[in-house]
């Protein structure tokens, strides 16, 4: 049930009261969920890559990201081990390579 609890801890951040509670005391917030020591560590350290590898959906990780004031592109860059800027540069380069496939642009 651990993955459930870890996901639930992120999912519950869908209202401002819960987010405030999380921001003002992340440790106390995490203690409300039945997490293993490793899970608690991943959650509190915002270890995006480890959380995703553990099976936590990106759709609840974005809620944890929002509650932690982490920009989406920073979170996503971390998945590849990149800084936000490195990730943005990668996306720009990719868009350039994919340009020829665009259709119906003005």
């Amino acid at each position: 049930m651990s993955l459930y609890a870890l996901s639930r801890a992120c999912y519950d951040l869908r209202d401002e009261t819960t987010r405030q509670k999380f921001r003002s005391g992340p440790e106390a917030y995490a203690a409300c969920y039945e997490l293993t020591a490793r899970e608690r560590e991943m959650l509190l350290q915002l270890d995006w890559r480890a959380l995703a590898e553990a099976g936590v959906s990106i759709y609840v990780l974005t809620k944890l990201g929002a509650a932690s004031n982490v920009e989406f592109l920073e979170l996503e860059g971390a998945m590849r081990g990149m800084s936000k800027q490195q990730f943005v540069d990668f996306l720009k380069q990719q868009a350039e390579q994919n340009k020829a496939f665009a259709l119906g642009l003005e």
Partner: protein, 276 residues
Amino acid sequence: MAKIVAGLACSHAPSIAHAYDHGMTNDVGWKPLFSAFEKSQHWLEAQKPEALVVIYNDHVDQYFYDAWPTFSIGMAEQYDIPDEGLGARAFPPVPGHKELASHIATSMVADGFDITASHRMSLDHGFLSPMPLLDEGWKIPVVPLTINVVMHPLPSPQRCWQMGEAVGRAIKSFPGDLRVVVFGTGGLSHQLTGPNCGRVTAEWDRKFMDLIESAPQELNSYTMADFARLGGEHSVEVVQWMAMRAALPPHARMERKFYYPFGMMGYGIMAFRVPD
């Protein structure tokens, strides 16, 4: 009897909502997408729709792992705007077409398609990122339907096609004149986790769009794992394009096609008109 007059498939994404809410629609990068949506809105108005049936997917906002319906339909008077983590977006509740929803749900179940009915539902960015760009100001009542593309096991693409066919049959048997447009939102290629995070596979997206246009039933031989491999794990949302296409009569004709690989996504829009 009700008539399906058109169908429209398009991408949905938090990035679309973000650009819209932060006044970025005229920025160099975003303008191509938002002008394509604007043109699509004009095109849609010309079809004179009276109800919008929107097939999309939830992203752990309405549903959680306690129970996740494979297919669901909203039957409410109106639908809530959810807080997905950043506060609820500034839109009024979305008006529902309760009679049509009730008829579709009843007909689908009678037809052997046991869809989950919901009397309270919030519409996350799967609905709420593209729909304000296609029906600004909520002029037309909606019937939301969802397909589970998040919590495993996922339905097969073929089952999603059959779901669309069942939705199509149900709409057509609605007593009373009603011009209905069916939507499918999601995709195209994107991968949001792992070592390939951010990858856009534009060549596959174009092939997928070609198949949706000319040979949609060929997609029934693909698996969700195929879609994940070809377009990224999170691109399996494209089954909603299939369901929309399956709801349309065979003589529907493609009239609009737009594709824009940008940022972390292949953004696409395709629209079909059903000739009288």
